[in-house]
């Protein structure tokens, strides 16, 4: 993905925009496909002592294309009493929120869609838009299980958005900026106690924030300990009950693409993002980074993303579901106080040093 060197040259505006759109598609669909194949198909199967898909392609690696082909062929069904326009609109809102989210993720020194001054804040804001899509998906289906799923989802996503925002504040205080690219630079140009060969990834200093952030991400993605909204033993499939074929595919892509994008944001905020510690190659600032990092950087970020998704999926396949009251209590009585304490400690240490 040598997007940046292309964009840096004198391309007309329409060509730059086209490249950005294509880059966005790659940045959303590639992680989604990889996550579904590697973790949902293969890792889940191995954890359950089975092989998983084996027929389509080597080791079943083409299975996802077969599934997509199957979904696309299905009849476009909606319930007779559904609110048709909103029923069709809802999955698009969820997917749009994912695409809006990916534009602030930096992939390399120049490989970025936009160098956004308040990038973290933007990411948290647009990720909350998907709640709207889920809520109206549940309502428009004209099905009480769907509606219950939608309401549960809204309650859960609102409750876990707060600890997520508060966990990020610690990183923002430490980096002194809300620009994701600057946060990457601050981590890799920094040093710990004068020891600079590791940089200063915030997962070490902001470990509490990282744990809170990852729990909140798990809940925002409605992955298993937090999958009350789609609890299959009570609600059939929650807000997705009435969706089939192409529209279900959009929800499905949205779920795993958002998992990928959130993991990229977690890597950028806590694990050093696309960069390696600058002292390895004698770089001093973002301007002195060699151009090949625009190619290697996305690969490094992708690897870190896979590692983060691995943990999300590991938890998903291992733990039973929270009850609704446990879920709300955990957010309001544990995560929010912990992250507030983290902010206070970080702020005090920032001023002290």
């Amino acid at each position: 993905m040598n997007l940046a060197t292309l964009l840096a040259s004198d391309l007309p505006y329409w060509a730059q925009s086209l490249l950005r759109v294509l880059g966005g598609l790659v940045a959303v669909l590639l992680p989604a496909g990889t996550v579904v194949y590697l973790f949902l198909f293969k890792m889940m199967s191995f954890m359950q002592s089975r092989l998983g898909p084996m027929e389509a392609g080597p080791q079943g690696s083409m299975q996802l294309f077969a599934e997509v082909g199957k979904w696309l062929q299905k009849e476009d069904i909606y319930p007779a009493r559904a609110d048709k326009f909103i029923f069709k609109l809802a999955p698009l809102i969820v997917l749009a929120s994912t695409f809006l989210l990916v534009v602030v993720v930096p992939f390399g020194p120049d490989a970025l869609f936009t160098d956004f001054e308040s990038g973290v804040f933007y990411a948290l804001a647009v990720s909350s838009v998907s709640v709207l899509g889920i809520l109206i998906a549940g309502w428009a289906s004209a099905n009480k299980y769907s509606l219950l799923g939608g309401l549960r989802a809204a309650g859960q996503l609102i409750a876990y958005e707060l600890p997520m925002v508060l966990a990020v504040v610690g990183v923002v205080i430490q980096a002194g900026t809300m620009n994701l690219q600057q946060i990457v630079v601050a981590q890799n140009a920094g040093s710990m106690f004068g020891f600079s060969s590791l940089g200063n990834p915030y997962v070490l200093t902001q470990f509490v924030g990282f744990i809170v952030f990852m729990i909140a991400v798990q809940a925002e993605l409605t992955q298993t300990p937090f999958d009350m909204p789609i609890a299959e033993s009570e609600l059939v499939s929650g807000y997705m009950t009435e969706y089939s074929g192409f529209r279900f595919l959009i929800f499905f892509i949205g779920e795993f693409a958002t998992a990928g994008v959130f993991s990229m944001i977690a890597s950028v905020l806590f694990l050093g993002g696309w960069a390696v510690p600058f002292s390895w190659f004698g770089w001093t600032s973002i301007d002195s980074i060699d151009n090949w990092m625009n190619v290697v950087g996305p690969l490094i970020l992708f690897t870190k993303m896979l590692a983060v998704v691995f943990f999300i999926m590991w938890v998903r396949f291992s733990y039973p579901r929270f009850r609704e009251d446990q879920l709300q209590k955990f957010a309001w009585k544990v995560l929010i106080p912990v992250s507030l304490a983290n902010i206070m400690v970080t702020a005090i240490l920032k001023v002290a040093f």
Binding site: S128, W139, I158
Partner: protein, 171 residues
């Protein structure tokens, strides 16, 4: 050229398109016969306001608009209506019979705000290449000259929180 050289043509066209969408959305909020549709039209209006802030190079305010109004207020609003009464299809009894009192209130509010904005900012112009206000500048303003209004607003929020607790606790 039919415009003076200091008129920002692209910004004005953008403003007009977004403003037209907002006006249509606002009218549909009060004319549609379904509560959830009304709420969704309100989302269109609020998103339009966020887009106008982007045109004014106030990205922080635009993001705050999305986070607070679309991500939180409208979601709570929809949550509340769906929990209590949100049927699919048209409802006939949504209009209050005193609805026309709203018109003079709306007109008075519009005139008051128009006068206030015109007397406050009427002579100012957008620069051709506006510099985006950084988050730091905004926080310097809020925690500097506007600290007292900021504190006053947080007391309003505190009062709302206390009120919510009083309503929710029945002991």
């Amino acid at each position: 050229m039919m415009f003076a050289s200091d008129v920002l043509v692209a910004q004005n066209i953008g403003f007009a398109i977004i403003a037209a969408i907002m006006v249509i959305g606002a009218l549909r909020v009060v004319t549609t016969s379904n509560v959830v549709h009304a709420a969704l039209w309100l989302v269109v209006v609020l998103a339009g306001a966020a887009a106008q802030y982007v045109l004014l190079a106030a990205e922080f305010v635009a993001i705050t608009q999305v986070l607070v109004y679309i991500g939180a207020v409208m979601v709570l609003f929809l949550f509340g209506t769906m929990l209590t009464r949100a049927r699919i299809g048209a409802e006939s009894d949504l209009n209050n019979k005193n609805w026309f009192f709203g018109i003079p209130v709306a007109v008075a509010l519009f005139v008051a705000m128009a006068i206030a904005l015109d007397s406050g900012f009427g002579s100012q112009k957008m620069p051709a290449n506006p510099s985006v206000a950084t988050t730091q500048q905004i926080s310097d303003q809020i925690f500097g000259p506007y600290l007292l209004p900021f504190w006053a607003l947080s007391f309003v929020l505190l009062a709302a929180v206390v009120g919510a607790i009083v309503l929710a606790r029945r002991d």
